[in-house]
């Protein structure tokens, strides 16, 4: 294998195709591959484990299409859509977080910090408390709340352009306001409603079936495809507005589009599963540290996000079995612990 004549200081190889070559950052690729492999493993585990006993041979029969009865329902109608949803939502959150952190140039600039989750939660709470817990209504409420708050944040932060700092501050302000409203709504309602709303607010994939997973998955995948298309511009923007303009990146338009995609991703995921905290914040940072890339890389962020959420969902079901915890609590705990561990590792290396 011939190396590059240039030394990038990191393992990079060129792969030649008939119509040109692309430069592959080996460490990045390795990170993604490992993440995807682990994800596949966890997916298999998710199908096999649960409180309803399914034996390995039973599992095989069901997966090859010959199962029947309640066992089949358990694996194909309950476990499978849930695991797939975890995977896709995790990837979406990782990517959305990456977009925001890149655009705002601040590792704290994540959708949950900026207040999209709070807005979705407000919308959902208003529906749950004043009306009904029905899935369709809550989802619509959450979506509306999230999009409205995103629009409010954007317009309030827009002043001849979006300055990253201003976006975050406005986001934090709106988030704090909405959190207050949420808390007020929770306080004033009955204990059981508040508990039910709090579980939604913690982010839960419990009960996700095909009729909810399929449309959500389609939307999220479409959004991810759109992001892949515009991702190039994002790296240009990372260099700074002036440099980006010099490179021919249409800065304002790209920023608007990318933020819009990030918002849409977060809103769609939050509407389905409730606000799942921390994946959007932690996945890009973890991917950054693992692949040692220079800027936020969206593909690894997505891979890490998918792995994180799937692991969190599996743990939330099995760790204290048969007690079930909402997956949002696991993400926050796992994400936080891993970030701490990474920090300690990094610090140790430096000393």
């Amino acid at each position: 294998m011939s190396g590059n004549p240039l030394d990038w200081g990191r393992p990079i190889r060129s792969v030649r195709f008939g119509w040109g070559s692309i430069r592959l950052d080996l460490r990045l690729v390795a990170t993604c591959l490992v993440a995807m492999l682990l994800t596949a493993l966890l997916l298999a585990l998710s199908l096999a484990l649960g409180d309803y006993p399914i034996y390995p041979d039973q599992l095989w029969t069901i997966l090859t299409g010959q199962g029947e009865g309640l066992a089949r329902t358990v694996v194909l109608d309950w476990r499978l859509p849930r695991a797939l949803m975890a995977l896709i939502c995790g990837a979406g959150l990782g990517v959305a977080g990456g977009i925001f952190q890149s655009i705002t140039r601040n590792p704290l600039g994540s959708p949950d910090v900026i207040g999209l989750s709070a807005g979705s939660y407000t919308g959902a709470l208003i529906v749950i408390i004043l009306w009904t817990s029905s899935y369709g209504a809550v989802t619509t409420g959450a979506l509306t709340g999230g999009l409205l708050s995103a629009a409010a944040i954007y317009f309030l932060a827009y002043r001849g352009g979006i300055l990253g700092f201003r976006l975050i501050v406005v986001g934090i302000a709106i988030s704090a306001m909405l959190s207050s409203v949420n808390m007020a709504l929770l306080l004033r309602s009955d204990s059981e409603i508040a508990l039910s709303a709090a579980v939604w607010g913690a982010g839960s994939l419990n009960g996700v079936g095909w009729d909810h997973a399929t449309p959500a998955a389609v939307i999220i995948c479409l959004l991810l495809a759109a992001v892949a298309f515009f991702a190039r511009d994002m790296h240009g923007i990372e260099l700074g507005d002036d440099a980006a303009k010099a490179l021919g990146v249409p800065v304002e338009r790209s920023r608007f589009l990318l933020i819009g995609l990030g918002v849409a991703l977060t809103a769609a995921i939050t509407a389905v599963a409730g606000p799942i905290a921390f994946i959007a914040l932690a996945a890009p940072q973890i991917a950054l540290r693992l692949s040692k890339s220079q800027g936020i890389a969206l593909f690894p962020a997505g891979c890490v996000g998918a792995l994180l959420l799937l692991a969190a969902d599996l743990l939330s079901q099995r760790l204290f079995a048969p007690r079930q915890w909402p997956v949002g609590i696991m993400t926050v705990s796992i994400g936080g612990l891993y970030l701490l561990w990474l920090l300690m590792q990094q610090a140790r290396k430096r000393s």
Binding site: L163, F165, M177, A184, L187, A194, A198, G328, L340, S351
Partner: protein, 355 residues
């Protein structure tokens, strides 16, 4: 990726905007401070005069003079007076802590909670409620405060690993990480038991109701100590803001300064949260307003925080007592509703109040 990076055009613009505040001279700043004090005084009077129970003004005065009895006296002397005192103390603590943390981490988005203090307190309280059947305000204090301290210690320990020591970004990330873990665990525990959930949601809103003198008096020495340590850190923070090399040249020991700030923030926020529960937004917003008025001098910022913090919390408490009569809205809910619009207005001004 740190904000305020002077290598970018934006960073340079921010650095320029940084130099001036609304007031241009020390005498103007002193005048402003007096005006703020006057506002605070009026608010204190208002806080004693109004509440969820409408009372005529002369009854209030009678009560203050010790000439009323029954519910009238109880409301004014046992409810409103201690409550106003608590509001002022928590207000100034949170604002001061916010100024410190924003100066230390040089991140204007930092909130004192970034060190994990609130999360530590909340987690300790959940443990207390689940295992020890806690439910009263004076009980919460004895769990929340140690919990806050422990959390900050862990954050500081993790943040200072490595040769560089406790750099702002390390501290922030460690604080956010630990905070997230503790919050997650706390939330998880509350969702497992509806009783625990009920008590936590009452505490979580941040409230000054039911906090009499027996709750705040034991913590007074802690508040005083926190303010003192904060004062000691003011001047060195000014020097440190010039950058690490210049700061060191001016004789500032960064490691000591960081430790000092962390101690002050822990004491102040730990005690405030122990008393009232998590009252958000004060620590984030008040330093911004202060900076907008006086510019980047930390000593002036802290002086203004000492007055503006109480202004926000007392005002929020008053509003909370008026809007949903005969019930009350907890102060923690109102602070964000009041403060957020102000913050948004500030941030939309041409000169962003960055650090």
């Amino acid at each position: 990726m740190a904000a305020g990076d002077i290598l970018t055009a934006e960073g340079q613009r921010e650095a320029e905007e940084r130099r001036s505040g609304l007031t241009a001279s020390n005498s103007q700043r002193a005048l402003g401070l007096l005006a703020a004090l006057a506002v605070l005084f009026l608010l204190v009077l208002l806080s004693i005069a109004v509440g969820s129970r409408p009372m005529p003004l002369n009854t209030v005065i009678e009560a203050l003079l010790g000439r009323a009895s029954g519910n009238d006296a109880v409301v004014v002397l046992n409810l409103r007076l201690p409550r106003t005192v608590s509001a002022m103390i928590t207000g100034l603590s949170l604002a001061l802590a916010g100024a410190l943390i924003q100066a230390l981490t040089r991140n204007p988005l930092a909130d004192p909670g970034v060190l994990g203090v609130n999360a530590g307190a909340a987690f300790a309280i959940v443990i207390g409620i689940s295992l020890f059947d806690l439910g009263a305000a004076y009980q919460y204090v004895w769990f929340a405060f140690p919990g806050a301290i422990l959390a900050t210690l862990v954050v500081y320990r993790i943040g200072s690993l490595g040769r560089a020591g406790a750099t702002p970004i390390q501290l922030t990330l460690a604080g956010i990480a630990l905070g997230a873990v503790l919050n997650g665990l706390a939330l998880g525990l509350t969702l497992l038991d509806p009783d625990v959930f009920d008590r936590m949601r009452g505490w979580n809103a941040g409230s000054l109701a039911g906090r009499g003198y027996e709750v705040i008096l034991p913590l007074l020495p802690i508040f005083a100590l926190g303010v003192l340590v904060a004062g000691l850190a003011a001047a060195p923070l000014n020097a440190a803001a010039l950058g690490e090399d210049l700061g060191a040249a001016l004789g500032v020991n960064l490691a000591h300064l960081r430790a000092l700030v962390v101690v002050a923030v822990t004491l102040l926020v730990g005690a405030a949260t122990a008393v009232a529960g998590p009252i958000g937004f004060v620590g984030l917003m008040v330093p911004h307003v202060a900076r907008w008025i006086v510019g980047p001098d930390q000593r002036w910022i802290m002086l203004y925080c000492l007055v503006l913090g109480p202004v926000l919390v007392v005002a929020a408490d008053i509003v909370g007592r008026l809007v949903v009569q005969p019930a009350e809205l907890p102060v923690g809910i109102v602070t964000a509703l009041l403060g957020a619009p102000v913050l948004i207005v500030l941030v939309r001004r041409r000169k962003a109040s960055a650090l």
